[in-house]
Symmetry: C2
Subunit: 355 residues, 2 copies
């Protein structure tokens, strides 16, 4: 009864303050902060009874450790940055999910920034994250060479950087995770050819990023091998959004380019093009077959469903997070490159027979 009144008085006093700290517990139990800390950290140098009393009191007073104090003490923020060209398509979201899978259980927070496919914006994002003192950064970049020195500087100043999907030039010694773009693109072109297509358009991504060049390389290699390569069918787009695909398709039709299929750098490009073609009354896949390179659920949520190279996006995020943790734990650990396997999934957009 006496104890109860004492608790109430104490709680009342506390309610004025923001939050129960270790000092409050120390005062309440007439112990030192050292002892409280030991009790809460399961230190062996403490009497079992004392420990129980502390734990009970912590429960009663609603004690929660102050992570900021811990972070200051250990010189970490337990937060990491995630920088992507955009977050409005499921691509980045899927990767993010993988990142979360690894990092949240470890107590890390993830701070997301979008570069809007703008290298300047990307640069600002990186500097902002640095000013936030993040412990590391996972990034999908939007231009291969533009911010090269910034990456270098940031790493040198002590913030590890891990790249995924679009990676920087090889001169930079960093951990990264990617898929074998060249081979998978090649296989997809073989598939289109095996479906009887001969005039295959490639909607190529920005030539400032490696994947784009790799996939275009696979496309070109196979078509050349089959004597089907036609430079006019290689279409450069400005970006990788729905609109860019739409615009590219319109340009092809306007220029009366003859083609019977499209292989697009991303699912957004593919869908944008497909929508435009359908709006013009063109049948997919009968007149034009369409294939993409992606891994999001978009491919099965359009009509007709899209044949595509399905990248293991969540796995990609998990791998990137794992590589980052390696670097955070020991910044002199060697950089690693993880190459993930992507699989080709054939769906209605290429499987209907050609006219």
């Amino acid at each position: 009864m006496f104890l109860c009144v004492r608790l109430l008085l104490f709680l009342n006093k506390l309610s004025m303050m923001k939050r129960t700290t270790i000092k409050d517990l120390a005062q309440y139990l007439s112990l030192s902060t050292s002892t409280i800390s030991r009790a809460l950290l399961n230190d062996k140098n403490i009497h079992a009874d004392t420990k129980n009393r502390v734990i009970e009191a912590a429960q009663k007073l609603g004690y929660k450790p102050n992570v900021t104090a811990l972070n200051l003490k250990y010189g970490k923020t337990k937060s990491i940055g995630f920088v992507v060209p955009e977050m409005t398509t499921p691509f980045s979201s899927k990767v993010l999910q993988g990142v979360h899978n690894i990092l949240y259980p470890l107590g890390y927070k993830v701070i997301i920034l979008q570069s809007d496919e703008d290298p300047l914006r990307e640069r600002e994002n990186l500097l902002l994250l640095e000013s936030f003192n993040v412990d590391g950064i996972i990034i999908n970049l939007c231009h291969e060479t533009h911010n090269q020195e910034i990456y270098q500087e940031i790493i040198q100043r002590g913030t590890p950087l891990v790249f995924f999907d679009r990676i920087p030039q090889n001169t930079l010694d960093v951990s990264k995770v990617l898929v074998d773009d060249h081979i998978k693109a090649s296989l997809m072109i073989e598939h289109l050819i095996s479906c009887g297509r001969t005039k295959i358009v490639h909607l190529m991504g920005p030539s400032t990023v490696r994947n784009s060049v790799e996939r275009a390389g696979g496309y070109q290699r196979i078509l050349t091998k089959h004597n089907l390569y036609d430079a006019q069918l290689m279409v450069k787009t400005n970006g990788v959004g729905f609109d860019d695909g739409r615009i590219a398709a319109k340009k092809l039709l306007d220029n009366k380019v003859q083609f019977d299929s499209i292989f697009a750098f991303t699912d957004t490009l593919a869908i944008g093009a497909m929508n435009y073609l359908q709006e013009q009354g063109i049948k997919v896949p009968e007149e034009i077959a369409i294939a993409s390179f992606s891994g999001t659920e978009f491919s099965v949520n359009v009509y007709p469903q899209l044949t595509s190279v399905e990248q293991p996006l969540t796995k990609m995020g998990e791998s990137a997070a794992t590589l980052l943790i390696e670097k955070i734990k020991d910044d002199s650990s060697p950089s690693r490159t993880i190459i993930l396997d992507a699989k080709l999934v054939y769906r209605a957009s290429t499987l209907g027979k050609a006219l």
Copy 2:
């Protein structure tokens, strides 16, 4: 020259350490930390020369303030949580963009958590954010009543909560931002009727959230007014994903329900249903017209383009962030509700003439 050597020696010494602090500057310039602090904070009680020397040295040694120390001092983490049912459709991304617009310039970090439409997960997310000591939380909930007490408790323990889109019951005194679901749904039904549709299906969202009920209410009111209401056309779905729309459409066809149009709770439901119908050879909009309630770019990136109630999603995020800042600044400030205007945009999915 002498100074230069001195700098190099100092830099060399620093390179062993993690980071330049105010103390390093103090030592380097033979000043006190107080003076350094004053110089860096533009305090007026400092000699202009001293200030310049400090700023110059800070530049040279690459000084960056330690935010964690600041956070500890001021009892804030300068971070807020963003809890959403999912992040893989552009809905949440769009809102997030608005949140970023307001919060990043103010130096806040945003931590995103997905509840996967699971109230238990949502609860865990909230507690996790609380353990991160976030200064506030913006949330789109996934079940109206399930976590009611948790919201209450979290607010009581001092973390302000702001709701958007799906909001909790009125018994909770909180800030929130929403659109007028009932009226906009009503207007959309009027539109379908004016297009000559009489058998309008409603793919209703989960009945555990307010919007869902509101939109269904608008649907029912207008149809009743026109003597067109038919309970069999009100379809409850399990979730709001593409699949749920697909399943609902399949069920309607399997049960040979007669209908000439669909009004869906979200664009994902609408698109899922539309894809299934098209796969079954049904023409949209000629045989079935489709309308949705959303605000993402999905509506213009499908074929045919979707008529929909376009919510100002980015604005929604900005409003929520603004309301949250109010609460963070002064937790006794009165709760506010912001009701945003959504506009109806008519597109091909309803505009083609009915057969």
